[in-house]
Symmetry: C2
Subunit: 361 residues, 2 copies
C-alpha cells in the first residue's frame, strides 16, 4: 500500500491510499481553491445526570447538505469543478472534515461553565474516508482488493490518531443513506478520534470487567461462542470471522461481525484476518442490499479498544444496523428509546438472520 500525504488549501491534511501494485503514481496536483481559514468552536459539556460528555458544535449548522452530483465535494477535481480532492482520480482518500464536530485546532473556551456542568474544548479529529472516486458506487460494490485498501486506511489512521494528544478512542464508521441523515451521497465513511471513551464503549467495558471478575473469561469471546453454538442467528462465517444478529438486537436489522481471535483493534489483525474480513463484509453488505428493492440505509461502526486503557478487556468487532423495518417503514427512536433508553424491536433476531442467510449469492 502506498500512502501520499498532502495538504488542502486551508491546511487540512489529505492522504491518498493506493494499492502498491497498482503502479498508479498519479499526478497529485495541489489544492488551488481559495478556502477561508477554519473556525471551529466546538466544546464539550459534561452532563452530570448521566456522567457523559456532549459535544456542542454550533459552527456545523451550515455544513454542505445533499449537493447535486455535479457539485459533490468528494468526487475527484475536474476542470472548472474543484472539490475536496485535488487529484483527477483516486482509490481511497482520507482527509480532515471541513465541518468537524471535534478538532485539534479548537479555540479557547468562551466560558468554563458552571461547577456541576463543566466544559472542555472540543478537541479531537473528524476525518472523511472516500471509498472510491465513483460517485454512484457503494461499499458493497467495492472489489475485495479495494475493501482491503479501506481497511488498511482505517488501521493506519487508528495508529496515527491514537498517537495524537488527548485522544482516547478512534472510531471508523460509515453512515449510509439519506434515511439516517447522510448529507453527502458519495460512498464514504468517517473516522472520529475522541478525547474520552464513548459512553456505549464504556458501558461494555464495565460489563466485560464485571464478567471477568466473576468468570475469569472474556465477555465478548463468550458472546461469540454462544452465538456460534446456538447457530440460529448466524448470517455468514468463514475461517476468521462470524457475522450474526445479536440475540438482544435493538434494531430491525442488526448484524455484528466478530473476529474469531480476540484482538484489541484493527492494527492487530493479521494479513489473513484482514483479507477474510473483506470477504465476509462484502458478502454481508450485498445480502443487506437484497433485503428490499432499494439499498439498505445503515450505520456500521468499529468497536475498537481504547487507546490507553482496558485493552486486555477489549475485543475488536464491527456493529452494523439499519432503521428500516419494512420496505416502506423506518424504525424511529421516540420517547422509549431516546428519553428512557428502552429499545423496542419489532423484528425477531432469528427471523432476520434467516432472511439474510437465504439472500446469499
Amino acid at each position: 500500500m502506498k500512502k501520499t500525504v498532502a495538504r488542502l488549501a486551508d491546511g487540512r491534511q489529505l492522504i491518498y491510499y493506493d494499492t502498491t501494485d497498482g503502479g498508479k503514481s498519479r499526478a497529485r496536483p495541489a489544492d488551488s481553491r481559495q478556502l477561508s481559514a477554519l473556525t471551529v468552536g466546538s466544546e464539550l459539556r459534561f452532563d452530570p445526570l448521566v456522567d457523559e460528555w456532549v459535544a456542542i458544535a454550533a459552527h456545523r449548522q451550515d455544513r454542505t447538505h445533499l449537493p447535486d452530483a455535479a457539485e459533490c465535494p468528494l468526487c475527484p477535481s475536474r476542470d472548472g469543478a474543484l472539490t475536496e480532492i485535488p487529484a483527477s482520480d483516486y482509490e481511497v482518500v482520507v482527509f480532515d472534515n471541513r465541518f468537524p464536530s471535534l478538532s485539534a485546532d479548537v479555540g479557547e473556551l468562551a466560558s468554563a461553565g458552571e461547577e456541576l456542568v463543566p466544559r472542555q474544548p472540543g478537541i479531537g479529529h473528524c476525518e472523511i474516508v472516500c471509498f472510491t472516486s465513483d460517485h454512484d458506487s457503494s461499499f458493497a460494490q467495492l472489489t475485495p482488493a479495494r475493501a482491503r485498501t479501506v481497511l488498511e486506511a482505517w488501521a493506519d489512521r487508528t495508529i496515527e490518531l491514537g498517537l495524537q494528544p488527548g485522544i482516547e478512542q478512534v472510531v471508523p464508521f460509515e453512515n449510509r443513506g439519506v434515511e439516517i441523515g447522510v448529507t453527502l451521497q458519495h460512498p464514504h465513511g468517517q473516522i472520529y478520534a475522541l478525547p474520552f471513551a464513548a459512553p456505549r464503549t464504556r458501558r461494555m467495558l464495565e460489563s466485560a470487567r464485571s464478567y471477568r471478575r466473576r468468570t475469569w473469561r472474556n465477555l465478548f469471546a463468550d458472546v461469540l461462542a454462544t452465538e456460534r453454538k446456538a447457530g440460529t442467528r448466524i448470517v455468514a462465517e468463514n475461517e476468521f470471522w462470524t457475522a450474526f444478529v445479536p440475540a438482544a438486537a435493538r434494531w430491525p436489522v442488526e448484524v455484528h461481525v466478530y473476529p474469531h481471535r480476540q484482538v484489541p483493534d484493527l492494527p492487530a489483525l493479521s494479513e489473513a484476518e484482514r483479507d477474510a474480513f473483506c470477504h465476509i463484509y462484502l458478502d454481508l453488505l450485498r445480502r443487506l442490499d437484497r433485503l428490499y428493492d432499494t439499498p439498505l440505509p445503515y450505520v456500521a461502526a468499529w468497536q475498537q479498544a481504547m487507546v490507553n486503557i482496558d485493552r486486555d478487556l477489549s475485543y475488536l468487532r464491527l456493529e452494523l444496523f439499519s432503521i428500516r423495518r419494512a420496505e416502506d417503514k423506518l424504525k424511529y427512536l421516540a420517547a422509549m428509546e431516546s428519553a428512557m433508553g428502552v429499545f423496542l424491536n419489532d423484528v425477531r433476531p432469528e427471523d432476520v438472520a434467516q432472511r439474510l442467510r437465504d439472500l446469499g449469492d
Copy 2:
C-alpha cells in the same frame, strides 16, 4: 374529576376522565365492534454487553400506520365509523394499546434463550392517552383545565399501574409529529409500565447516588439550582416550576421542566403545583410551536421515581426534546449517537433558550 371504567370488545380496559364540574354524564355505549382476541408475543432479552433488557415485539409490525382522518381510531365513534372509543364524545380517555410492546397477557416464552442472553416474558402495560376528541388539535392548544385533566389521568395511572404485578416504573410520554415516527395524528400520548428500570433512569439514579454520597445533597435539586442561578438557559418559570435548556443539551431543542420541590412522582404533586405545571407547560409548548412555520415535532417524557426503590433519590421532572435543527433540517441519530452513545449537538443551549424566551405571548 370523574372516572368511568369500561371494557372494549376484546377485553381491553378503557377509562374516561371528565372534569367533575363538566356535568357531562354522557351516554357511554358499549364497544359493538367484532374484535379478534389479542395475541401478544412480546419477550424481553438481556443484552449482557450493556446490561440492559431489550423488548422484542414481532406482532407490532402490522400496527395501524397513518390512517386517514376519517379512519382515525382515536376519534369518537360515529354511525358507521366505530373507533377505539365507543362514546360519541370525550374529554380525556386512557385505554390499553391494541398493539402493545409489553402486556400483562403475554404468553409463555417459546425459549428461555441462552445462558448469557436470557429471556423473560414481555410483561408490562402500554396505554394510549387521548388528550381531546378534536382530531386536529394538539396538547399546546388545550385549555389549562383540560391539561389538568390529562395530568390527573397521568397521576391516576401512575398509582394504578404501579400496583400491578412486576411493574417497576411508570412512564407517561408524548411522541408528537410524523418526523419522529408517530403513526396516529390524533393528539395523544402514551403510558408505559415497565418491569425494570429504564436504562437512562438507572444511570441517572447511579449518578444521584454517587453525588449524595459525596455531597449529602440531591443531584437534581442542585442541577435546578445551578440553572436558576446561571439564568442563561431558562425558558420560563413560575412560583412552582422552572423550564430550562440543560447546559449539556443533546438535542437541537431540549427543555427540562422541574418542580421547585423535590417530589418522586406525579401523584406527589400538590394542587397548586398541578395547576402551575399546566400553565408553564402550555406556555412552553406554544413557544416551541412558534419556532418554525410548522408545529415542532417533539418527544416529551416524565422522569418519575421507580415504584419500589430509590424514591428518596428521585426528582420528578419532564424532559422534552425535538430532532428539528432548522426549518427544513432534522437531527439524525447516526453512528456517533446510536452506535457509540456520543451526542453531537449543532445548537448552543444558550442560543435556543434565548430564542424561546423571545417567543412568549
